[in-house]
């Protein structure tokens, strides 16, 4: 097991290093000089040169990368061109919305998908299976903002149980959770539909295995064989999809964030791109990529927890 973890850790470190170099060089290669951009079109060449020197832009590329990497490791992602505030602080603020939202959405998706996938697999080929799978097909096909609008109409406008949008901040935890609930549900539904389908097909394949027959010959009922033997064996593909979904939920919630007026990471990136605030884009992309790599690492570790054959 230790060997496995160490190997994964090495691969985690290398991926992070490679990703950081890639992100750094892409922003460097984009035409346009940050110094002249910050000073506007009417700036004197001397002023631009002075600022370039101050920002370290006159140094050779590898040195600038190391300089930048050192800053990143110390928590310094640079300053936003437009807001003149530290990028790290901006991202941290947005993460307070995006991270809990993604986690809630993923948890909801799993909670919805698990019983549906198990139900459909237990009734594979019969009417219940066909009906549930048709519903998940619709769930995948319909865009999540449409669900979002329906949820707002029902729970915010008609029943007035939950707010229609906005985020009060974590000073009021109950209110904050309430305002994240509807967007989390809207995000979770399509993901739950995908997850349920993956779980069902993984389960159906597992249920055809010889050891399920052994379990039945032991005296386990069909349901017990499914929950005690098939479920864990079907988890690997489900974990893979969950890892991908989490990455998507973290940054891909932009439409939902807009529908609910949430100050999330997706909106920050969108605004930064429209304003050509490359330092913010760079910082946000770096954080997202690091999150994805980290999640992949965690998924790899969970494989080994599930399957003893991988613990070598």
């Amino acid at each position: 097991m230790l060997r496995y973890v160490i190997r994964r850790l090495i691969s985690l470190g290398l991926s992070l290093l490679l990703a950081s170099a890639l992100i750094f060089s892409v922003v460097e290669l984009v035409p346009g000089d940050p110094a002249s951009f910050m000073l506007g079109t009417g700036a004197q060449p001397e002023t631009v040169a002075a600022l370039r020197q101050q920002m370290g832009l006159d140094l050779p590329l590898p040195l600038r990368y190391l300089h930048w990497l050192g800053g990143v490791l110390a928590g310094d992602l640079g300053h936003s061109f437009t807001y003149k505030t530290p990028v790290a602080g901006m991202i941290l603020d947005r993460m307070q919305v995006s991270l809990p939202l993604a986690l809630m959405a993923l948890a909801l998706a799993v909670l919805i998908a698990l019983p549906i996938g198990m139900f459909a697999a237990a009734r594979r080929g019969r009417a219940g299976d066909t009906g549930v799978m048709a519903a998940t097909q619709v769930g995948i096909a319909l865009p999540n903002f449409w669900f979002a609008m329906l949820l707002v109409l029902l729970f915010a406008v008609k029943l007035r149980w939950l707010p229609a949008g906005g985020f009060p901040g974590w000073d009021h935890p109950a209110a904050a959770l309430k305002s994240l609930l509807l967007p989390a549900v809207a995000l979770a539904l399509p993901q739950a539909a995908i997850l349920a389908r993956v779980l069902r097909s993984a389960l159906v394949e597992t249920l055809g295995q010889d050891y399920i027959r052994t379990a039945r010959a032991k005296g386990l009922s069909a349901g017990q064989a499914l929950s005690r033997h098939a479920l864990r064996n079907a988890l690997i593909p489900v974990l893979t999809i969950m890892g991908m979904q989490f990455s998507f939920l973290l940054a891909g919630a932009i439409i939902i964030e807009n529908v609910f007026y949430l100050p999330g990471l997706g909106r920050l990136i969108f605004q930064a791109i429209t304003q050509r605030d490359l330092i913010v884009v760079q910082g946000a992309v770096l954080v997202l990529v690091a999150a994805v790599i980290l999640v992949t690492f965690l998924v790899d570790l969970s494989y080994a927890l599930v399957d003893p054959r991988l613990r070598r």
């Binding site: 052994t214 010959a217 032991k218 005690r228 033997h229």
Partner: protein, 540 residues
């Protein structure tokens, strides 16, 4: 006592079982023999109440006077695993790979007796000891992948007998195992029946296995029992024509018409070495090397048939891959017609075309989306597609006895024996000098196997083919090879003419293989009229 009474199974108006009457009294081993598709596994599943969806059973399966077929599923769950246990053919996949063996055996005790984990584990320990997996070498915390096939089958037996059932059903329990492992598992089953007084229903296609272990035997054909009685009586009398056909096929000797001998070396293996690096045991542990083939040398002449036998893990498959030029050697060399066989693209297509292979699994070695004509024509990529390739494909298929519109059909439309014939046609199409037959008849029923062996013997005579016949089944090797090589732990420990090596084995390993091979007592085979002809017993 468990008995079936006019047990019948059908699916969609089609009969699979017709009126099976079986009595399974305690302490008796009943052999149920027949070919694949005869319904013997279905009979077992019907007794267990585990028939596949869409199949319905009629008649009676009686336990303590009640008819199991009428019980609701909940009640059946209480009987399965407790009163009736079952083990299956494929030990490699019969256990849950994510659960320790201790938990898998303990689960039976927990669901039926509601024991807590600790008590159940203690009992599981006892049962694993009983099947020969004793502590401390086999702790409960082992996972199935840490055990060999024979050891996994012992775990499967341990969980099937954990609650001392009235009946144990064993469906081809040793078919996937080596002969020596098979002998030990059969001994274990025999001992369990004797010690625990349970009934054993042993389902097998292997008459010799039944001869060695069963008290009573029932012969099945197309869903009915055509003959049954005490084993010796059935084996001596062979009243039914089907029983006689089975016996004839199992000892069938193909008739050879050989072209004049050509003492010209076709395949020369000289000091061949194949090594694999093993996964490291610790973080800083040195990488260990497994020498799977350890300095093997032999020669195969043109037109000769040579057998290569040994148990799984002895290195015969690794050697075969090297001979076929699929893996590189770490030492020594392999020559085909005097030219060196090399792995990968270093080997000329023209040389590769002189050697073809037929594998064990006739379905897995074909692309299911291709039509037969394309499958059979595939080796032409080594020689270039001739203008008349369709005619050549038709001719190759004709030679193996496949006619009609086979060329336009897909592989799933053929039976196992027909698929293996198509595989042989594919090997023949570019007129090779050598065909490597890797367990090529092991998955076939005795009668089909006899036909394929006849075909191989005929093709050898007509085409002057040489065979390298790899098998764990000594009786088949006896039937089709001139010389035999015995392989153990990467080395060839004995070689010589087949009748000599299998008749007077010199090496202890060969002796142990022969000793473990089940056989029908010679006295039972004497003077049985087959089609009106009296056969003398085969030479000992």
């Amino acid at each position: 006592m468990i008995r079936t009474d006019r047990l019948a199974v059908g699916i969609g108006g089609h009969d699979i079982l017709r009126g099976i009457d079986l009595a399974l009294p305690p302490g008796r081993i009943t052999g149920l023999v027949g070919e694949s598709g005869s319904g013997k596994s279905m009979a077992a599943l019907a007794i267990m109440g585990l028939l596949p969806q869409g199949m319905a059973a009629e008649g009676r399966v009686e336990l303590d006077g009640q008819n199991l077929l009428e019980l609701p599923e909940r009640e059946l769950c209480r009987i399965r695993g407790k009163r009736i246990g079952m083990i299956f053919q494929e030990p490699m996949t019969a256990l849950n790979p994510l659960m320790t063996i201790g938990d898998q055996v303990a689960e039976v005790l927990r669901i039926h007796q509601g024991l807590d984990r600790k008590t159940a584990q203690e009992r599981a320990r006892d049962r694993l000891d009983r099947v020969g997996l004793a502590a401390p070498r086999f702790p409960l915390t082992l996972y199935p992948h840490e055990l060999s096939g024979g050891q996994r089958q012992r775990v499967a037996i341990a969980l099937a007998i954990a609650l001392r059932p009235d009946l144990l059903i064993a469906d081809e329990p040793t078919t996937a195992l080596d002969v020596t492992t098979q002998a030990r598992i059969l001994d274990l089953l025999k001992g369990l029946v004797r010690d625990e007084g349970m009934a054993l229903l042993l389902i097998t296609h292997d008459l010799a296995v039944v001869a060695g272990i069963a008290d009573h035997v029932a012969v099945m054909q197309r869903g009915t029992i055509v003959e049954e009685g005490p084993t010796e009586q059935v084996f001596r009398q062979r009243r039914h024509a089907y029983t006689r056909a089975l016996f004839a096929a199992s000892t069938h000797q193909p008739r050879l018409v050989l072209p004049p001998a050509q003492p010209r070396p076709l395949l020369q293996v000289e000091g061949a070495v194949r090594e694999y690096p093993l996964p490291r045991r610790g973080l800083a542990a040195p990488r260990e090397i497994l020498r799977a083939v350890d300095g093997v040398g032999f020669r195969l002449d043109a037109g000769e048939s040579v057998g290569l036998v040994g148990e799984s893990g002895c290195g015969k498959s690794t050697l075969t891959r090297a001979i076929l030029g699929l893996d590189p050697l770490q030492g020594g060399r392999i020559l085909l017609d005097g030219q060196e066989v090399r792995a990968g693209r270093a080997m000329a297509a023209e040389l590769r075309a002189r050697m073809q292979v037929v594998f064990q699994d006739p379905f897995g070695s074909f692309d299911p989306r291709w039509r037969v004509e394309r499958l059979v024509a595939e080796p032409f990529h080594l020689t270039g597609l001739p203008r008349d390739w369709r005619e050549q494909v038709a001719e190759a298929l004709y030679e193996v006895g496949i006619t009609g519109d086979a060329m336009r059909r897909h592989i799933h439309e053929f039976s196992g024996g027909q698929r293996q014939r198509i595989a042989i046609a594919r090997a023949l199409i570019i007129k090779p000098r050598l065909i490597v037959l890797d367990e090529a008849v092991s998955a076939l029923d005795v009668r089909v196997r006899a036909q394929v062996l006849d075909l191989l013997a005929r093709l050898r005579g007509s085409h002057g083919l040489a065979y390298l016949f790899i098998s764990h089944d000594l009786s088949v090797v006896r039937q089709i090879t001139d010389r035999v090589l015995v392989m153990e732990k990467g080395r060839i420990v004995e070689a010589g003419p087949t009748h000599q090596v299998l008749g007077q084995p010199q090496h202890p390993y060969t002796q142990s293989l022969l000793e473990a091979t089940p056989r029908i007592p010679a006295a039972w085979q004497a003077h049985i009229p087959v089609n009106g002809l009296a056969l003398s017993p085969p030479a000992p």
